[in-house]
Amino acid sequence: MDFLIMNDMGFPILSALIFLPLAGALILLCIPGDTAAKNWTMLVTVITALVSLPLYWNFDATTAKYQFGEHASWISALNINYTLGLDGISLLLVLMTTLIMPLCVLGSWRYIDKRVKEFMICLLLMETSMLGVFMALDFILFYLLWEAMLIPMYLLIAVWGGPRKVYASIKFFLYTLAGSVLLLVAIIGLYLDQGTFSIPALMGQDYSTTFQIVVFLAFFLAFAIKVPMFPFHTWLPAAHVEAPTAGSVLLASILLKMGTYGFLRFCLPITPEATLAFVPYILWLSVIGILYGGFTALAQQDMKKLIAYSSVGHMGFVTLGIFVLNQQGLEGALLQMINHGITTGALFFCVGMIYERTHSRELDSAAGLGRYMPVYVSFLAFFSLSSLAFPGTNSFVGEFMILVGGFTSNKVVAACAIPGAILAAAYMFRMLQRVVWGRPVNPDHSGISDLNIREMVTLAPLLFFVFWIGLSPEPFLKVMHVSVSHLIEQVGGVTGGEAVSIAKLMIP
């Protein structure tokens, strides 16, 4: 247990975060009435968010160990434990999850008008499993929550989704599940090798290269589908377009991060040799993803699809940052995960707000809204600028760090990723131009109302973070420094010169 600093806050804060939404969901079962259900869910998510804040103040940024640890025996026959902990990699993801949840509830306030209670229960169950995934330090606990999350997410799309919800939800479920069945086999393989399911205990062990490569491939398939990396991305646009606003936001902001979190938490430290061997391929896949996502987004008429494809591009940047395997790249990737969560989440909220008013997500029918919704388009403009990594916004810092990392490690790959940033500007400005200044073609927008207070409250915190991270990223970066250096040690510490030179040979 030398990797775990036990929690000394007087109460099990991580368990509280996991079980608060779950308890809230159970109590919600007995609460009648739609408005009461909304209020209750709001209350639960806000309390969860407030409970999570002390994590930041009490986090010790000088150690790479897992903090706020909790440990209890769960299934003794197989040495499975209930182990929770946070380090610099997961801390920000947990905070982002708890902070985005109340906004999701707010954003669904009017959008969801049938079966409100069930919707809210699904949201709360999602929160439990998402938080659990980021906190779990036991492989089975992780896998259980990772899979269990599919059920509420599937229902969110399949019940409250758009016209093609059946196709989209089944595709989402099948893709993600098919990816993770071999993950389970890999987990069992690791367990039989080491006799433990404890994730930190499995790191840095002396596995044979073949074993590492097999395990890495099983991991990679599961996480690459979740990210999603090109060519596993086809479920994403379908799911995003059909999901309700809150579903899209959860999907973009948090679920996609689980893929990259998986790379950071499992692939790199558990199978370092295999990681080094596969680096060139993954870097090129990332570049393809960046360019492909950008070009496809440029051609979209549906705003949600546009943002969905832009996610493919942005997540390509994240995987690029992760697999250049240096401090700037990894920290940039981690920060970019948060940025993407904030910005893309906000953009999905924005699209949802138009959809509530015009019942269309087509760029053409949204054209010219700027005349009637000045407040709305100001928000939209800032978030779009953030999405294309405009200096002064959060994504600029992240992408810049990733590119710096990229250029230090491999100039060709990094140079190939640059057009991605230009493409992002192109598709975002295309959307902005249409929505803000485009002439209204068919419907008459004159009766349309601007954002109300609730909607502004939904977007304002996200905008606040856009500028905070953009102008002063240090508070966010400082918590990850030590953990990221430790991670690099874990990957590099075991390497001979051999694997690196393979990587160099592969890419001129």
Partner: protein, 473 residues
């Protein structure tokens, strides 16, 4: 205290006699049901009381150990649950209902006796007592469609069943011929000395065949889809769940015979397991009748269960036992919904479940939980059971089998999900709400809770299963 050793069987036996008397008079189905239900509940209690009994009866042909008593408890509980939720017995004519309950009880009696049998002839008689009662239950369905589908199913069931029995008897005759005894206790050591001879292997394989038939393992599966479809919903609920527990229990007893030099048996089990999984899952993909679909899924699940048997180790056997108990519960939950949604006992197609969430939210939830559990999605028991099976098989060095089983999980999710999909999609609004009685509601809530509890907290039950398996080895 010999009476206590035999108490569960005695309760069922006396109950059958009472039901026999009842069936000779002019008594309606409801009264017969009340008798049977109270009998079943008493039997569960008696099984609980007798859980820790140990001993042997009838010239050692009948052994009472923790293994047998635990399985008896599970079988009795399954029997009681089926009775609890099949309150209306929609598919059966009222005038044959007393007989229906009589044969259902006799079948349970046969299963309960089966798991204690440690002598070949006793085993055979117990198995046939249970099988023949089941054969009779199938044609009792009323002939509403005019197609006499239930007769066709019954004929198929009995023909396949008799062939499987024949195969098993043939195998038993080999065992007797090789060893000169029918007692497993004497038979085992003698058999171990001749494990290299093909005759011994063939004998064991043939005896296993009889139980493969019950469990619906490929290639003894062909009765499944037709019988599931032809029998009334309540009958199928019983056939699909309870006898399979006994079959797995007996398979554990018998495969334990093959160790330690049973490599050929292991290979056979692996092949059958892979065939069952792929055949069951692939064919289930295209089914429209939900009972047929569950039938094929049952074949696939039989394949998963064999994953535990191929390990030839205590862990594997315990995992198999755990999985089949979990399967019993998820299956009962699924059939509960089918029985309740079917208005007059007719068969349901998957599309008939459209919009179920609006007609009965509780049933929709139960069905969804049951389907997700069978697909092996956490936090339900299907996942935990499958995880243990995979771990056990991987540990025993059957990595390719583990990978194939994992791939099968991915295949199977499609058809389970399509049931959930229609359940939660908007249906036609004109359909009336499903009437669910208080008891059935309570049963479905309990089943859902057990499915979740077994998925999240398997420790206790796994220890029980391990302890039980240890009693056999």
């Amino acid at each position: 205290m010999k009476l206590m050793l035999f108490a569960p069987e005695l309760v069922l036996l006396l109950g059958s006699l009472v039901l026999f008397l009842v069936s000779t008079g002019k008594v309606g189905g409801q009264k017969a049901r009340a008798v049977t239900l109270s009998l079943a509940l008493v039997n569960v209690l008696v099984c609980l009381v007798c859980l820790r009994q140990e001993g042997s009866l009838f010239f050692d042909a009948y052994r009472i150990d923790f293994f047998s008593q635990l399985i008896k408890l599970i079988i009795s509980a399954g029997f009681a649950v089926v009775l609890l939720f099949s309150s209306e017995l929609k598919g059966i004519d009222d005038e044959v209902r007393p007989e229906y309950y009589l044969f259902l009880t006799l079948s349970t009696l046969g299963l309960v006796m089966l798991v204690s049998s440690v002598e070949l002839l006793t085993m055979f008689i117990a198995l046939e007592l249970s099988s023949y009662s089941l054969y009779l239950l199938v044609p009792m369905r009323d002939d509403r469609t005019g197609l006499r589908m239930q007769m066709e199913s019954a004929i198929k069931y009995i023909l396949f069943g008799v062939v499987a029995t024949g195969v098993m008897l043939f195998g038993m005759s080999y065992l007797f011929g090789l060893t000169g005894t029918t007692y497993l206790v004497d038979l085992l050591p003698r058999l171990h000395q001749m494990m290299s001879s093909p005759a011994a292997l063939i004998a064991i394989a043939m005896v296993l065949g009889g139980f493969f038939f019950k469990l619906a393992v490929f290639p003894f599966h062909s009765w499944v889809p037709d019988v599931y479809q032809g029998a009334s919903n309540e009958t199928t609920a019983f056939i699909a769940s309870v006898p399979k527990v006994a079959a797995v229990a007996m398979l554990i007893r018998l495969t334990a015979m093959a160790t330690p030099e049973g490599q050929a048996i292991v290979t056979l089990l692996i092949v059958l397991s892979v065939c069952s999984m792929f055949y069951g899952n692939l064919v289930a993909l295209v089914q429209t009748d939900i009972k047929r679909m569950l039938g094929f899924s049952g074949i696939a699940h039989a394949g998963y269960v064999l994953l535990g048997l191929v390990t030839m180790q205590e862990v594997g056997y315990a995992a198999s036992l755990y999985y089949i108990v979990g399967y019993l519960i998820m299956n009962l939950a699924g059939f509960l919904v089918i029985c309740k949604v079917s208005e007059q006992g007719e068969n349901l197609s998957v599309d008939d479940l459209t919009g179920l969430h609006a007609r009965s939210p509780l049933l929709a939830l139960t069905l969804a939980v049951s389907m997700f559990a069978m697909a092996g999605i956490p936090p339900f028991v299907g996942f935990m059971g499958k995880f243990m099976l995979l771990t056990g098989a991987y540990k025993a060095g059957h990595l390719p089998l583990v990978i194939l089983a994992a791939i099968n999980t991915a295949i199977s999710i499609y058809y389970y999900l399509s049931v959930v999909r229609v359940t939660y999609s908007a249906g036609s609004e004109d359909r009336p709400a499903v009437v669910v009685g208080g008891v059935a509601k309570a049963v479905s809530v309990v089943l859902v809770l057990v499915i979740i509890a077994m998925g999240l907290l398997p420790d206790q039950l796994l220890q029980l299963a391990t302890e039980a398996v240890r009693a056999v080895l």
